[in-house]
């Protein structure tokens, strides 16, 4: 309920992600202190709870990931990922339960197949596949969640700002 109260209904450009010191960094520059905008789609039953656990345990990880909760990783329509890239994300993470642990038994198996093909599509059209990732994080793996976000932030930071598939009409 609260999540949607202020949603204007249209996708908005992501504001610059704060740097490690909390200050915003200009997103067009790939300089030393540039940090990426990441969007994460986390499944409600494992990965979102994993993120929660990371928070409860006060684990430190980069604040660059904006999490969107979905009921299952197989809920993630490829158009979500494309829309994120269009509107200014430098990387997109899709996170779900480990294979075999899906709350709905089989959702993440479908995700695995679809995501594989989709990632290869993006690669064929010229996007670095490291910008679009699929990870399995269980509800007990707060540490793993923090590691995944840290690694992905670092990897995308090295790649620099993403200009590919970005909309010019923002």
């Amino acid at each position: 309920m609260l999540l949607n109260q202020n949603c204007p209904g249209e996708g908005q450009d992501l504001a610059p992600a704060p740097g490690p010191d909390g200050a915003g960094s200009p997103r067009s520059e790939g300089g030393e202190d540039w940090t990426p905008n990441l969007v994460g789609f986390c499944c409600n039953w494992c990965s979102y709870a994993g993120a929660d656990l990371a928070g409860i345990n006060r684990l430190q990880y980069p604040p660059n990931l904006r999490i969107i909760r979905v009921l299952c990783s197989s809920r993630v329509n490829p158009m979500f990922i494309l829309r994120a890239l269009q509107k200014g994300a430098d990387g997109v993470l899709v996170a779900g339960c480990h294979p075999g642990d899906c709350h709905y038994s089989t959702g993440n198996y479908y995700t695995r197949r679809r995501f594989h093909i989709f990632q290869r599509h993006l690669e064929f059209f010229g996007l670095d596949p490291a910008r679009v990732q699929l990870e399995w994080v269980s509800a007990a793996e707060g540490k793993r969640f923090a590691d995944v976000v840290t690694e992905m932030t670092e990897r995308v930071r090295k790649l620099g700002p993403n200009t590919r598939f970005r909309s010019n009409l923002l």
Binding site: H116, G126, N168
Partner: protein
């Protein structure tokens, strides 16, 4: 091929006279020598117009949807009855696609199949004959896949195999995979080895070059949606790209923006991934010559490599690979798949 066309006409006539089918779907000669138009014959007399020529390129199956889908405005009050379709390998696979997707019932369609010699490529024929001055093209008397182009300067006999379109050169099923009756024809020798030859030129490109290449292609796109409208795998009643649907998010901007063109093409490719029957119609109808077939070939090659050998449309009750899974599917690697 000439006698095959005769046999098809005779049989179609008989079916219509007996009332076993209500209409026959085929091609007729176009206005120009290198054209061939899809057409519906509803009486025995109209069947005489039907033909299969060296340029009969269109896949007919999309018209079946207009005929059988009850809510479609093109359909009138009468129940549609049964439709006979002249079908090659790709048409037959497309019919299987529609049946598998629940768009068509098996008893609504009667497949009059023939083996396909391939379709002549207009540009390749144009290199050896002046097609602009040609009055007609027809199959030659000596059978097989040879045809004659009649021009003011005289006649020129050609073999289809010399001037065949790329999509037919990579065809693996020139024989109709589904046919209620079969009428001979001249099957092109299928060579499974060359199925993915359209991908060769992309192999040496690096990521940046591929992005440049596809951005150039998609920048030309006028979003006429011809590739969607012609595709037998794109058979949804409501399409995600038609943003004027009530209660639906507008996924795609209507302004002319390369980013939206890219998103359209990536999404279209993903929506038909694993269900594409590789007929290459998308590429043929593209008014700005975007090499769309390569995208679908790439997807098919990926599915073969990652999951299982698969060719869509070979049987009417198949499960498309992206609507299935296996416990042994490979994990997506962090750094990408290649």
């Amino acid at each position: 091929m000439k006698d095959t066309v005769q046999k098809l006409r005779r049989r179609s006539e008989k079916l219509l006279r007996k009332g076993e089918v209500q209409r026959v779907l085929g091609w007729r000669p176009g206005r120009l020598a290198w054209q061939s138009a899809p057409t519906v014959a509803e009486s025995a007399e109209e069947v005489q117009r039907l033909e299969v020529g060296p340029f009969s390129a269109a896949n007919l199956t999309k018209y079946l949807i207009d005929i059988v889908r009850p809510e479609h405005p093109a359909r009138d009050e009468e129940p549609p009855g049964r439709t006979a379709v002249w079908a090659r390998g790709c048409d037959a696979r497309a019919i299987n696609r529609l049946i598998a997707d629940g768009v068509l019932d098996e008893d609504e369609v009667m497949v009059l199949g023939f083996s396909c010699p391939g379709i002549a490529d207009r540009e390749r024929v144009g290199e050896v004959v002046d097609l602009a001055g040609a009055s007609c093209t027809c199959w030659s008397e000596d059978g097989g896949d040879s045809f004659v182009v009649h021009t003011e300067a005289g006649e020129k006999q050609l073999q289809i195999s010399e001037v065949v379109a790329d999509r037919c050169a990579s065809c693996t099923h020139p024989e109709p995979v589904r046919a209620d009756e079969h009428f001979g024809g001249a099957a092109r020798t299928a060579d499974g080895e060359v199925r993915f030859f359209a991908l060769d030129e992309y192999e040496d490109m690096d990521e940046g070059e591929r992005y440049e290449f596809w951005s150039r292609q998609f920048a030309r796109c006028i979003r006429c949606y011809a590739c969607r409208n012609v595709c037998p795998a794109c058979n949804c009643t409501e399409c995600v790209f038609d943003g004027d649907l009530p209660d639906r998010p507008d996924w795609l901007g209507k302004a002319s923006d390369i980013s939206d063109n890219q998103v359209y093409h990536i999404t279209r490719a993903f929506h038909v991934a694993g269900r594409c029957i590789e007929c290459g119609e998308c590429e043929r109808v593209c008014p700005v010559n975007i090499p769309l077939r390569a995208i679908m070939q790439k997807t098919a090659a990926d599915i073969e490599e990652l999951f299982e050998p698969h060719e869509a449309g070979l049987c009417p009750d198949e499960t498309p690979p992206l609507q299935a899974y296996s416990l042994d599917d490979p994990e997506v690697k962090e750094e990408g798949s290649t």
